[in-house]
Symmetry: C2
Subunit: 329 residues, 2 copies
Amino acid sequence: MHKETLGDIGEKELINRLGKFMPKNQISDDCALIKTKNNNNLLVNTDSMVENIHFNNLTICPQDLGWKAVVSNISDLLSSGSKKTIGITISLVLPPRTEWIWVEELYKGINKALKEYGGIILGGDCSKGNEKIISITAFGVQGELELRRNACKPGDIILTTGIHGLSKLGFLIQNKINFGNEFSLNKRLISKSIEHFCRPKVYPNFLNNLLKTRSNKKIRKIGCTDSSDGLFQALQDLAIASNCKAIINYEKIPKVEDWPKGDKWDEYYFFGGEDYELIFSLPKKWANNLSKLDKNINEIGFFIKGEASIEFKDNKKNKLFNKTPYKHF
Amino acid sequence: MHKETLGDIGEKELINRLGKFMPKNQISDDCALIKTKNNNNLLVNTDSMVENIHFNNLTICPQDLGWKAVVSNISDLLSSGSKKTIGITISLVLPPRTEWIWVEELYKGINKALKEYGGIILGGDCSKGNEKIISITAFGVQGELELRRNACKPGDIILTTGIHGLSKLGFLIQNKINFGNEFSLNKRLISKSIEHFCRPKVYPNFLNNLLKTRSNKKIRKIGCTDSSDGLFQALQDLAIASNCKAIINYEKIPKVEDWPKGDKWDEYYFFGGEDYELIFSLPKKWANNLSKLDKNINEIGFFIKGEASIEFKDNKKNKLFNKTPYKHF
C-alpha cells in the first residue's frame, strides 16, 4: 500500500499540518517570537540552504554563499520588524571530503554580511553528512512596529521595496541557460542579475523609515513578508494570512531597465524567488509618505475585502497566476 | 595538488579553527549566550541529527528520534546552567519520499519530550534534501549558577549524574551486533540499554539540587559539560578548557548491575557517547553535600594542577586512554 509522502502533499500542506503541533498562541510567520520580561521580545529565524537544492558549486562561490545565508535570515527578521540583529548561530553539515578553504571562505562571507548588517557569531555546531547544509539561526530584537503576515487590511496599499526577477535571471545565467537568439542581454543587466543572485541586499533602514512616516501613531501592526519564495508567493501568503484579496496593478510594478517583455520574463518576475524584497501593506496616507521618502519603494496594488486571492487589475494578465508557484517538495 | 579536507583535520581542529571567527567575548561552550538587559540571559543550543550518521531506520523509530533530538538539546542547556527551557525551533531537511506518518511520529516524540521537560515549539522550517536531518535549536534561561567547561579548579572533585556505556550497548543491540559466546546479556540489561539509547533522560532538578547544597554562596561558576560525545570526551573538554589535569578513580565509576568486565566493555563505557549525563566538578564540601542528597550522583575523581590531560589513579588502566576518542569527521 502506498503511504502518503511529502512529495504527495507538497510544502504548503506540510507546513499547515506541522502548524497543528504548535501552541495556538505562537505566531505562524516568517519568524518565531520569544517573549521576555522587559518587553524586548526576541525574533528568531532559521533558514537552511541545502546543496543541489538551494545552491551548487557552479552557481555560487562559498564566500557569496555565506553572505547569502546570513542575508536570507536577516531578511526574515526585518520582515517581522526586527530593530537590531543580535547575532547568529551556525549549524553545518559537511562531507569529510569538503576542503578547509571552502569552510574558511564561507565564514568570510558570513562575517562580511554581519559587518554590513550587524550581529555576531554566537556559536555553532558541525556534523558529518553526505551533502553540504548551512543552517543559520538569527536573533533580532522586536521593534515597536510588529510586522506580520496577517496584518493586511482591506483598503491598504500594497508596496514593495524593490525590483523582482533579477535573482532568478542571475541563477539562470550562472547555470549557463541559453535564452535563445531573440534576446541579447546587455552586460549591465547580466552583472546586476548575478549580483542580485550571489550577493543579495536587505534594507536595515526600512523600519526607521516606516516609523518616520507613520501617519497614525496608534497603528502598531502592519502586514509584511519578504519575497524569498517569489513575489507571487509573498502576495499569496499575505492574502491568505490576512484573509483578503490583493489587486495588483501590473503597470506599476517596478522593473529593471532593459528587462525583456513576454510571458517567460513575467514568470521569472513573479515566481523567480530569492529576491529578499519586503512586500507590505499600509494605509494610503502612510504609503504615500513612505514612497515619497524612499524612491526605491513602489506602490503596486491594494487589498480589498474578498476571498483570499490575487488578481491583476488588467484582466488579461491573470493567466500568469495559473502557474504553479515555487514548491519545495 | 591535494587540498586539506575536513577529513584530514578532524572535528576538534575544525572547531578550533572556526572559533577564530567568533568574537573573543563569546563563550566557547556547550551553548551560546545571548545577553539581555534585565539579566535574564538566554542560552541557545543547536544540535543536528543526520541520517546514517546519528540514526537510521533500523536503530530508532521516528517517535524516539524526536524525543532524543529534544533531549540532546536540553542536556546542553542544563549543562550550562539553564533554569528553564523556553522552547525550540525545528529545522527539518527531508527527502520527498519521506512518509507523512514518519513526520507525524517525529513530532509526537518531540512533544512528549517537551511535555516532560518543559518548553514549546516556537517555529520551524522544512527543506527538501537527499538525507533526513533534524536540527533543533533550544532556548533556555541562564540560572544563577553559570555552568561552564572552563570553570573546573585544581582540588575540585569530579562528579557524574549517572552511568555510562548503556547507550552504546543499546545502539549495538539495535544493530544486531553479535557479542560472541562468552557473553549472555540478561534481559534487564538489554531492555535498559535500548531505553538509554532510544529514550535518554536528563536531570531537570540538577540545578536546584546544586543550589540547595552550595557550601559557599559566593561561588557562581562551576565546571560542567554533558557526556553526549562520551565520558572520556567530556573529561577531556573540561581538562582542556579549564587547563588542569583530571585524575579518575576507576573503582569509583558507577556501573550498571551485570555490566561485563573487560577492555571492550571499558571502551564502550568511556567512548560510547550519547549518554547525556552531566560531568562536573565541585569543591569537596559541596560535592559531599550533593552526593548525599542525590544518590545517583557519584564522585569519580578530582582535578589537580598540571598539563590538561586525564589519568587513572590506577596506572594499569591508563592504556585505555590511548584509544582514539569519538570523532565526527
